[in-house]
Symmetry: C2
Amino acid sequence: WHNAALLYGDAERPAETGARAAPGAAEQRPACACSQKPCGCQKADVNYAFLHSTDLLPACNGEITTMSFLQDVVDILLQYVVRSFDRSTKVIDFHYPNELLQEYNWELADQPQTLEEILLNCRTTLKYAIKTGHPRYFNQLSTGLDMVGLAADWLTSAANTNMFTYEIAPVFVLLEYVTLRKMREMVGWPGGCGDGIFSPGGAISNMYAMLIARFKMFPEVKEKGMAAIPRLVAFTSEHSHFSVKKGAAALGIGTDSVILIRCDERGKMIPSDLERRILEAKQKGFVPFLVSATAGTTVYGAFDPLIAIADICKKYKIWMHVDGAWGGGLLMSRKHKWKLNGVERANSVTWNPHKMMGVPLQCSALLVREEGLMQSCNQMHASYLFQQDKHYDLSYDTGDKALQCGRHVDVFKLWLMWRAKGTTGFEAQIDKCLELAEYLYNKIKNRDGYEMVFDGKPQHTNVCFWYIPPSLRSMEDNEERMSRLMKVAPVIKARMMEYGTTMVSYQPLGDKVNFFRMVISNPAATHQDIDFLIDEIERLGQDL
Amino acid sequence: WHNAALLYGDAERPAETGARAAPGAAEQRPACACSQKPCGCQKADVNYAFLHSTDLLPACNGEITTMSFLQDVVDILLQYVVRSFDRSTKVIDFHYPNELLQEYNWELADQPQTLEEILLNCRTTLKYAIKTGHPRYFNQLSTGLDMVGLAADWLTSAANTNMFTYEIAPVFVLLEYVTLRKMREMVGWPGGCGDGIFSPGGAISNMYAMLIARFKMFPEVKEKGMAAIPRLVAFTSEHSHFSVKKGAAALGIGTDSVILIRCDERGKMIPSDLERRILEAKQKGFVPFLVSATAGTTVYGAFDPLIAIADICKKYKIWMHVDGAWGGGLLMSRKHKWKLNGVERANSVTWNPHKMMGVPLQCSALLVREEGLMQSCNQMHASYLFQQDKHYDLSYDTGDKALQCGRHVDVFKLWLMWRAKGTTGFEAQIDKCLELAEYLYNKIKNRDGYEMVFDGKPQHTNVCFWYIPPSLRSMEDNEERMSRLMKVAPVIKARMMEYGTTMVSYQPLGDKVNFFRMVISNPAATHQDIDFLIDEIERLGQDL
């Protein structure tokens, strides 16, 4: 049966499936007598060494070859998927860039390769890939590999369309409508009212928020540019994501006009400092137009105090954006959603289902409370796309809301996963990840050789800590210790990658030298994987 | 054999594959005796009606269910793929938005659905999808469904990673490097030198060009914003893509600062008008910083005279961008690449392989001649991602070049298709599409009932024409005729969609009322499909 191929690379495949016919046999053989057209009866005879992409559909009689080829690709992928969840496999087979460039010929040529070579390219690419679904891959906020999400992404690829009009993406446009409304309900906007879009990532979603906030206050900026309006300033915490500054640079506002508000020791924005800086900016004649609060900071996983921030935004009539790219997922959990209390008062919210909800990359939503604003802000009325004399309800041609013209279908994988899990399924998955983070925190908070970067139970799944090798444990807390400690995490991380056993991120932050930032968003992870991580850090770091 | 499932929806599937076991059987059954672990021997027994996504990996013993489920999804997709190329199937099974909303329950709920329902969701989604790979789908610049591209996109989904660092996307980062260098070679930059990125679509690529051009002239804009620099103006033709204006609005430059240069009757920018408008702007004290020339306009498929434009840009020291989103593919053709002569003098080039080269959506490249500029313009040095003390060559951490933080892997499908076709394969495919466009042009230019929107052989695959129904053929060319002609294309298009037989776009442009814009980018299309389109237009339009 065909799944035998799952367990073997082509080279190792049992002989019975390897029977191969003469060159070009797929074309020359007389038509099969079976009643199915196209039929796949003769798959075993397809000899890829003599076939090229021109033998695939739309080639005449290309069905057999196409189905065999795609099936063999899928077999390679299923093998990879199964191995991704297998703890006995490496997370990564690490090679330095120059090694990887030399180990295989990746170059593009004038002449075609055979389908046999194409299958080899696929296997080689996966050989060196990071298994981001591996239960011991903790390196990024987006981890895991959801099977329904994967299926949905495969369907999206086969449908190969574009979000700009209902005309060419009827189902996906409706699903975007349904899904965004549901997400707005979860945010707490009455009846899910409002607007939104799926954008290519949280940075772009945050940039959209800034763009729309500016337009709301000064609609003339669209035509006249920044020259026609006062100098704007935006506020965000010192722990916020760099995309707020990146957006300000792009939008012509400038990074100097992003004022970083101080955080408490847990990484939460201090509202009194926000108000002070707003007043200061106003005194200088600047116009505060946006506060970007963070619900789940990148490193600490901190939630800014949204209610206090909402009060200040209301008082000074400033657009309140909540960057919930990382923390938004907690809205699915009855146990944890209080951490976002106040989000319902935001004017806009970024929420990336590709992070805490485990949706395949990428899937980021920007939600906007006021309907129609995105459209007014971004529309250019291209008459070749958004014809006004079409025969259906034009409100479903949502493409002109976007900065993009063509837009990838990102909604289907989220929608299908939501159908498959229900809200309660996402909740269970998220609660489990938070429980694991608490387990890790409890395990190391008093353990020899560990120091927590901040006190207290994590609010999200971020657990930030230093591993202190034995040689540093009795040292005084001075500069030498700091400079040695700074080098510990990078060395352990490099060793993790070379062994390929696990991956976790590290970084410095402010005056704190390199520390590990553990995050858990993969429902495949278990207590044993957390135990493994700690053992591995100690194994790899004890000699430092 | 499993491919039997290809030809049948679940309901119609022959009885022998439909044998189903008791609830939860997949878990309760004793382990199979075969030597393969995990094995798929018992696939036929999986009863999806009693299984949920929680039974899939990473569930304990989830392999059998996972492989069966993904295999069944793939069977549904393969069926869709084969049908996409079958001319006896509809391009679209059109339903109005309110019908589609009522015909199926698309809502998201608290409770999970079974895997049986998930498979049904997949089938239903595809039932209402547009077959963008159908040989008679001519509606957009991106059409077709490439089998190697599809395979590559499936692999990309399974790898589920992010382009920001080499650490988590080693192969894909290298392939981006190799592929962008090759594209720059095709543009004509010596040795493929320069820089670039894959971005989420041509509009964003064009916005990048504008962003980088502004930064090159006034690097202080990154920190200080537009307030600190003189009033900028950009130039592009009146036939250029709306994304130039959209970008200017977003970047705080303002749409009024995008000066539209007149075109000749073929839709090409008139260089003397460009120079005149540059001088005029300078006289007003504005600073010209960008000319965006178009290589393949959206509607006419016109190529701006790049050499003359390059001369003007050089003379006035203005950044020359070429928007080759649509026309860039012609660089792969020895016969047609002369149309882009002068592109090698551009400072930046947008080129969307997802259009003329048939790569699945989305795949858009921005190429920049000066290396390092993208990085300086966009980098924010986020220390949690771009640690400076990593153990490998940091020049491969390319993520800080981008406006995005997370970035989808768009390169693999292009790379794999290029390996499979070779440059010569892309050339053959593109030459064929252009030949088909010429065939269409020759067929209708003197045919009763057709008027060409502009004279002469198309330069790209765009063929723009009016169909004149018999009732209008003897009318004088007056306002009444115009107002009746305006309604012809929309009605024919609506009928096409309701019959589902073919799709082609129409639009007004300037003083020209609605005309058809035929484009061909699908290598599946043949002369017979062109003949069919013409017959269909006449069949659906003769009574108007």
